[in-house]
Subunit: 405 residues, 2 copies
Amino acid sequence: MKILPNKTITDVSGFLASGIHSGIRKSGKKDLAVIYSEKEAIAAAALTTNKVKAAPVLVTMQNLKSESIQAIVVNSGVANACTGAKGIENAKQMVEQVADCLHISNEKVLVSSTGLIGTQLPMEKVLPGIEKACSKLSHNGGKDAAEAILTTDTFKKTIAVEVELGGKPVTISGIAKGSGMIHPNMATMLSFIMTNVKMSKSLLNQLFKESVVDSYNMISVDGDSSTNDMAIILANGMAENPLLDENSEDISKFKEALDFVNKELAKMIAKDGEGASKWMEVSLYHAPSKESARVFARSVVSSNLVKAAIFGSDANWGRIMCALGYADADCDLSKVDIFFGNKEDKIQVVKNGIGLLFDENKVKEILDQSFVNIIIDLKSGEYQAKAWGCDLTYEYVKISGNYRK
Amino acid sequence: MKILPNKTITDVSGFLASGIHSGIRKSGKKDLAVIYSEKEAIAAAALTTNKVKAAPVLVTMQNLKSESIQAIVVNSGVANACTGAKGIENAKQMVEQVADCLHISNEKVLVSSTGLIGTQLPMEKVLPGIEKACSKLSHNGGKDAAEAILTTDTFKKTIAVEVELGGKPVTISGIAKGSGMIHPNMATMLSFIMTNVKMSKSLLNQLFKESVVDSYNMISVDGDSSTNDMAIILANGMAENPLLDENSEDISKFKEALDFVNKELAKMIAKDGEGASKWMEVSLYHAPSKESARVFARSVVSSNLVKAAIFGSDANWGRIMCALGYADADCDLSKVDIFFGNKEDKIQVVKNGIGLLFDENKVKEILDQSFVNIIIDLKSGEYQAKAWGCDLTYEYVKISGNYRK
């Protein structure tokens, strides 16, 4: 696998995109993106588990039943959630407008929205906006699309990799919209992955589902997602590699590349948490099961108290113990070791569940970095997981407390 | 039932208390309390469900098995959690010292701690401190005890009520130590209730357990508690009312008074959340079950985004919908109505899951108050619940990020 620097989704053969300002956002920022696949693509998706689902989520759920997908339309600024029958109608109109402009059938179009809940979309701006975005589709439009899906994000999130399958170079690239909100279980998260791999739909489904669990779900707690969360992958087969299916030997090579793309985007989302001054990785080792490893890691990275301690560069490991203790997973926590720092250069602060004397200044140096690694060794099994998050800052409270203003 | 203004636990016949500075806290603040019952009392308790239990919790669990209890010793400043065998030894020594000073047996003494996790208690200060506190026990010491159990709390939490049972006045009074940390599922919560009621132990157990569920557990999420959480009730029988047991007609009268005491203390804890500028009550009506009512109400009151919106006086009801949607309970949320304000003077912002046009200025007036009431009507059943919390402020991040400094 190799990383393709500065490349994005429109560098994947067969994909065009655009991102424009339609007028939904009053700030003048780009607020509408269209992604188009020249060939019919197969799709897989992970949609929000929140019981309150935004209108675009409901419409996209429906259209994901079609055999193939050719376009995705995304707007920022208005979430089109809690908007009733009119909201559904508007999401459907967005789909129809894209289908009309691109001369494809409605069911080949997916729709996604992010922004304020409870406001109706200004369709008099959205519909001409879609027309404009469709007319601007190009092989250079990926970065504009990456920009148009953002809300309070401070940087565009995009990544591209190449992997060789059966002698053919296959590209995977994604763009994402980050945690508008710092708290993992409320992040509105959008991610759109394009690949030219030739693959069976069932395998694409399986691999994408698995990949989401260890990437986006490790920043956004499963079952605790926002009204609009959506991760979608389209595969158009244009790499012309030998068809990848459940019996192919190359599965792991593709899976590794797909996992990399999703994890990198997930990390960017964590890094760009609203108001964040630092971001952190929690590496959890030797858990009794894969799922418990995830639950423990997520519990630590989601703790307000841990987040605030990281903000204050305070080596308050008791809060990590506390977050492990109330996590909904079983393990004997009297064996846990905790370290701050990276694998090569770390300082142990807890041994067998009990605090050690440690050099506070050295740990403060580690915690003063913009990236903080917390290593937890449960010494109770063979499984590991990583979770990502950011600190809790004054700035977060300020942004989050005045979101609508 | 009548409220007894300015009365506290030592106004319940037969109870003495004291609160002193032993030297655990460097600030010179009171840090050690002893509560003593002249007569042997029966006890009931709710202890933390965190898998990481502090040493005093483990020792108290053991001593709660005895037939009767006569004393509780509590220190603030050091939680004696994650302190290993030495921590257990120290908690036991605290018990022994109280027993020695008061000439009672060890198993009649309960022990409780709150403060920083991972530090050993300075026993050279604690043991003389206990001796001093025991020598100062008095019928006026309740308020000193209420003060000595505090950490970052800004006011003493105490309440007392009287109820007549079989012609005899029965008193119930409690003191509590609040949410050092604003986030409900991490609040370290201590509560000590004294009553002179004459009651069977099984009934006391049952009523206290029920009462905790709708009071302290509605600010501190069940199963998500800190290493040191503890709520204890002692009943010494000195009111000489006819014995209350499962067959008594007066149960509901006593229960009402007990619930009042616990809920008032729970509300004080919410009000005094770390760095809080406002506190809020979430009143949830017409849920399909009692438990789902609790889960939905707690989900809203625990949401960082709702808390930050309340801080910013932002009528961002979408965040309330979102928190209802990811709550782990079932209900058709397309029927939900949401109001801000109190029952008599409220403004509806959501009807049947969809936002209404409302007077933003009027809602802002409501949200600018120091107490904010959020009313949620699920219109899906007969059950209701209330939950309490506070806003998320700059001040919280500041205090929480520098807790150890």
